[in-house]
């Protein structure tokens, strides 16, 4: 467990928060418009990649927003390969062309993870609020054509969960090697839209059965990950494998975070690669040390034998749902706050709550949220990532 000398093995580069899609389940910060102007330049990214690699980083995810909105991804990929990263481009597919993919291949990009949404055009276009269904199929063929491992990521929610079997068939038909069925995690935009996105327990169980049937059929040919929605679990996820333990996220404007939604936590100041060396940020900065190890824990986590397994869950979820980051993640049935999760599950069944309009991720909504508009936010939520 708590490594005395943790290394940031996984580096996520969220190179831009700009995105042509408007997904209802996006976990990007709801006030992302604040971070779209001051993006790091190519040289600054290369310096961050070098520093992190020297600290032991190995896996590199290039994500966003839509990373392909930047025109220097080719350069970053080639540099990453030279440095010895195993690199992954995480994309909606918008902006991927024959020319760019050939350049990525030449530069040594290891794989491309494409997001898909559904087997139907209607749901794809509805949930992303864009007309991108046909494009995604073309991009999938392009990825295959360049002999890349085909890694599909499908975020699962109430609107597509009953199509899991068909989604897996589609994945098989286009030659996927890995499929991640990622149940929505309720952060950012997904948290605002939680009542509309959350499936019922029955839907979830059926989806898991369908997944297992498919696994038995395809065997090793296609690896399928089913990421369970933590609200329906009894114990929290081991978020980020522990704070400041293996993950480090460098965001578009250079702010460095231990997890995606850490900005939401009160009383923390996150360092920036423009101001400090990554080495200091990872090892010494107060933000990265705040929830390292278990010294910060309160009961019931402090004396819990399972704390070495789940590290008390997710600090952001604890704050967002209970108002205090040091509390146990309320997903845990040992948490005195578990009722907030049960209530959310109930709400998701209530037609009146479900009928609220979805707040799509777009600049207009982000501006309103950045200005503090609370009318878009369900009242039970303490903060917004």
């Amino acid at each position: 467990m708590a490594d005395a000398n943790p290394k940031p093995l996984w580096l996520l580069a969220e190179v831009t928060y700009r995105c042509p899609l408007h997904c209802a389940f996006c976990y990007n910060p709801t006030d992302y418009v604040r971070h779209t102007k001051n993006e790091l330049g190519t040289e600054e990214w290369i310096s961050a990649l070098r520093q992190a690699r020297a600290m032991g980083a190995l896996q590199l995810g290039i994500s966003g927003g839509e990373p392909l909105l930047r025109d220097d991804i080719e350069e970053l990929v080639a540099e990453a390969r030279k440095l010895g990263y195993y690199s992954n481009l995480i994309t909606s597919g918008v902006g991927l062309t024959e020319k760019r993919i050939a350049e990525f291949k030449r530069g040594g990009l290891d794989h491309i993870q494409l997001s898909m949404h559904d087997i139907t055009k209607e749901i794809n276009n509805f949930i992303t609020d864009t007309n991108t269904f046909e494009l995604k199929k073309k991009v999938a063929a392009m990825i295959k054509g360049h002999d890349y491992p085909m890694v599909l990521n499908v975020v699962i929610h109430r609107y597509n969960i009953e199509h899991v079997a068909e989604i897996l068939e589609m994945a098989e038909a286009i030659g996927a090697d890995y499929v991640e069925l990622a149940n929505t995690q309720y952060y950012g935009w997904a948290l605002i839209n939680r009542a509309q996105l959350m499936p019922t327990r029955e839907q979830l169980e059926k989806a898991e059965e369908a997944t297992n049937r498919f696994r038995a059929k395809v065997g090793n040919r296609m690896k399928i990950y089913f990421v369970v929605p933590d609200y329906y679990a009894e114990r929290p996820k081991a978020c980020m494998n522990g704070w400041g333990s293996v993950f480090m996220i460098v965001t578009a404007d250079g702010t460095v975070l231990p997890c995606h939604s850490a900005r939401t936590l009160p009383g923390l100041e996150f360092p920036n690669v423009r101001g400090q060396p990554l080495e200091w940020i990872w090892n010494e900065s107060p933000a990265f040390n705040k929830y390292r190890g278990d010294g910060w824990m309160k009961e019931p986590c402090r004396s819990c034998p399972e704390k070495t397994k789940d590290f008390g869950g997710c600090r952001c979820q604890a704050f967002l749902l209970t108002g205090e980051a040091e509390n146990a993640d309320p997903v845990c049935t040992l948490s005195p706050h578990r009722q907030v999760v049960d209530r959310a599950i109930e709400e998701a069944k209530t037609p009146a709550v479900r009928a609220q309009p979805i707040v799509f991720r777009n600049d207009g909504n982000s501006r309103k949220l950045a200005e503090g508009a609370r009318d878009l936010v369900p009242p039970s939520i303490h903060g917004l990532p």
């Binding site: 290394k7 032991g56 190995l58 010895g84 195993y86 794989h111 491992p149 890995y178 040919r221 690896k223």
Partner: protein, 97 residues
Amino acid sequence: MTSPTPVSRADVFGLSKLLRLQWEEAQGCYVLLYPEGMVKLNGSAGEILRRVDGKQSVDGILGDLRQAFPDAPDMEADVIAMLEAARERGWIERKDG
């Protein structure tokens, strides 16, 4: 797919195209990198897998290992068991017929 036939000395294996094997100076070991993660290999697994090149047969790998580690006790059974485990996980694939 898990093939029921045991690994034999004439088989030729290559690494799966989903993987990259790399020496990590910082950790003093070989690592296997793949889309969803990474595995640190212990000394002998690293020495075996780095010889899996899509050309050399299992027999060739054994000969090579004997040359590199002349004092090691007979390793045929261990090497075959390791390759079978690697094939089971989809790390390596048969390259000959």
